[in-house]
């Protein structure tokens, strides 16, 4: 008689559930929300129903999507600055212990100080747009720095010896050994940094709001709040969340595509 085989974790069976369950939760929540508003006749300035929020999103699309464009640009600039400076700084730290010991603590200080507290100062000293990007950068760069540093330090020692044996130059070591070895860690850092730049941009926009010139999505949320335009607040918030999800998914996809040939994280369980 054949022995009973243990049921193996089957990724093809888990996947539909991973997609279906969140959708079910979403649908149930929206219906519950709608019923709550209708049955209790809650006025829209207290809690707008889901349909009204969606209507507002369509009706105010001009304002909201313009604002989204502004916020996205800030996020993108902050993200790019965080990526470049984070990776370059990690490379610099990797080549010189003195530089690492001298500056790493300050990178940590920049990371642990709440951005809400730094933003007003930056807005005084820097031009508005620069200050907003700087906030996005400050929040996002540390994960890139920390992860890249970890990646560069996790190079296989024997492989490093092999490179030394064949007289590899520093440039060759970096290009053919250190950067590829650090790539999974770098991509992990970038994935975190994407969401954080959005958070940094939003925080800075809220802080800048009173300064007048802001027209990003966060500014629109604050403005709608002052005017008690609650449906638009919800619509803007919805847009912001969706943006965060899209950024995360896009970066995850890029990471997966770059690692799928060789890295454990990108491989199916069964292989």
């Amino acid at each position: 008689m054949e022995p009973d085989l243990p049921t193996l974790p089957d990724s093809s069976r888990g996947r539909p559930m991973q997609v279906i369950l969140p959708i079910v939760v979403f649908a149930v929540s929206v219906v519950a929300w709608d019923l709550l508003v209708r049955l209790n006749s809650i006025p829209p300035y207290v809690l707008p129903g889901p349909l009204l929020v969606f209507d507002t999103l369509v009706k105010d699309r001009q304002i909201l999507f313009d604002a989204l464009g502004v916020t996205l640009l800030t996020t993108l600039e902050g993200f790019i600055a965080a990526s470049i400076i984070g990776i370059l700084l990690a490379l610099l730290f990797n080549t010189s212990r003195i530089v690492e010991y001298s500056f790493y603590p300050y990178a940590v200080i920049l990371q642990v100080t709440p951005i809400v507290a730094i933003a007003p100062l930056l807005l005084i000293y820097l031009p508005q747009q620069t200050a907003v990007v700087a906030c996005a950068w400050i929040v996002a760069f540390f994960p890139v720095l920390a992860n890249t540093t970890l990646g560069l330090n996790s190079v296989d020692r024997n492989l490093a010896d092999l490179f030394q044996l064949y007289g590899a130059s520093r440039e060759q070591q970096l290009r053919f050994l250190k950067l590829p070895a650090a790539l999974p860690h770098i991509l992990g850092g970038l994935r975190i940094a994407g969401g954080l730049s959005l958070i940094g941009a939003v925080v800075a926009e809220i802080a800048a709001g009173s300064a007048g010139a802001g027209s990003g999505l966060a500014f629109r949320i604050a403005e709608s709040g002052y005017r008690l335009n609650i449906p638009r607040m919800f619509a803007a918030l919805l847009l912001l969340s969706l943006t965060g999800i899209v950024i995360f998914m896009a970066l995850s996809l890029i990471s997966h595509l770059m690692l799928r040939r060789w890295h454990e994280s990108a491989l199916g369980k069964e292989s």
């Binding site: 092999l162 044996l165 590829p180 070895a181």
Partner: protein
């Protein structure tokens, strides 16, 4: 460093290694390896065999003593004339088999087109031609080790240093790789210094077994294994069993040396 006279491929004179933390790992050790010879360094774990190999490769400077490699000084010679096989396959997981084998030539700035011929030839010699485009994770342990061997051979080195390369493999795979390595050695006539802690492997593979004492590693005995056809029949022959007994006894004496001192 002076040129080695005669037919020695490598010569160590009074080589010692004391690590920064005060651990006396090796020597003094004197050793001469003939060109085309296959020798094994056999000893218990931590006896400095790997250290000796790293010193010969120029990966670690000796505390005292001299390493001479045939023809040129060690520093200049080692780039092209040494191949190193580590205990683990030590492959780049992000690169295909072909790119892994191409690595030494790439680091020596050889043009890809010229290198391609060499890479293909060496992959064929270890029987991995059809796996050239595959990533290391898709290979078995034995196949990974073959890639590692191919990479060491691709520069056509004079001297091949192997640091317990088959220790992590199962016995059946190890026997197969032993035979394949011997066949390559007979064909290419390279000088091989093979570090192992297996009595049987050292006897089966080498022409000469250097038995080392525990730390600090010194040469305790040298046993010549007579020329015999190294086939699966040799593994079961009385001569092989006799050699294994001799080497085992020498190893036991080497370990006792430590206890006495």
């Amino acid at each position: 460093m002076t040129e080695v006279t005669g037919s020695a491929a490598a010569r160590l004179r009074g080589v010692t290694k004391i690590y920064g933390n005060g651990v006396n790992a090796l020597g003094p050790i004197d050793l001469s390896v003939r060109r085309g010879e296959f020798i094994s360094l056999l000893g218990p774990s931590g006896c400095g065999k790997s250290t000796a190999l790293r010193i010969i490769a120029g990966l670690s400077p000796p505390t005292s003593g001299v390493v001479e490699l045939a023809g040129v000084s060690a520093q200049a010679a080692r780039r092209r004339s040494i191949g190193f096989v580590f205990q683990e396959p030590t492959l780049m997981p992000w690169a295909t088999v072909r790119d892994n084998v191409f690595l030494p030539l790439r680091l020596m700035r050889e043009a890809r087109s010229a290198a391609e011929v060499k890479v293909d030839a060496v992959l064929a010699s270890v029987g991995l031609s059809e796996f050239a485009g595959v990533y290391p994770r898709e290979l078995s342990g034995g196949m990974k080790m073959r890639v590692s061997l191919a990479r060491a051979l691709v520069t056509d080195p004079e001297l091949i240093l192997m640091d317990e390369p088959f220790a992590a493999l199962d016995e059946i795979t190890r026997f197969k790789l032993n035979n394949d390595l011997l066949e390559l050695w007979r064909r290419l006539r390279k000088t091989v210094i093979f570090v192992t802690h297996s009595v049987f492997e050292s006897v089966y593979l080498s022409q000469r077994v250097i038995v080392m004492t525990p730390r600090p590693g010194r040469v305790s005995a040298e046993l010549v294994i007579e020329e015999a056809e190294r086939t699966e029949e040799f593994r079961t022959s009385a001569a092989y069993a006799g050699h294994c007994r001799d080497v085992s006894q020498a190893l036991a004496r080497a370990s006792a040396t430590r206890a006495a001192s």
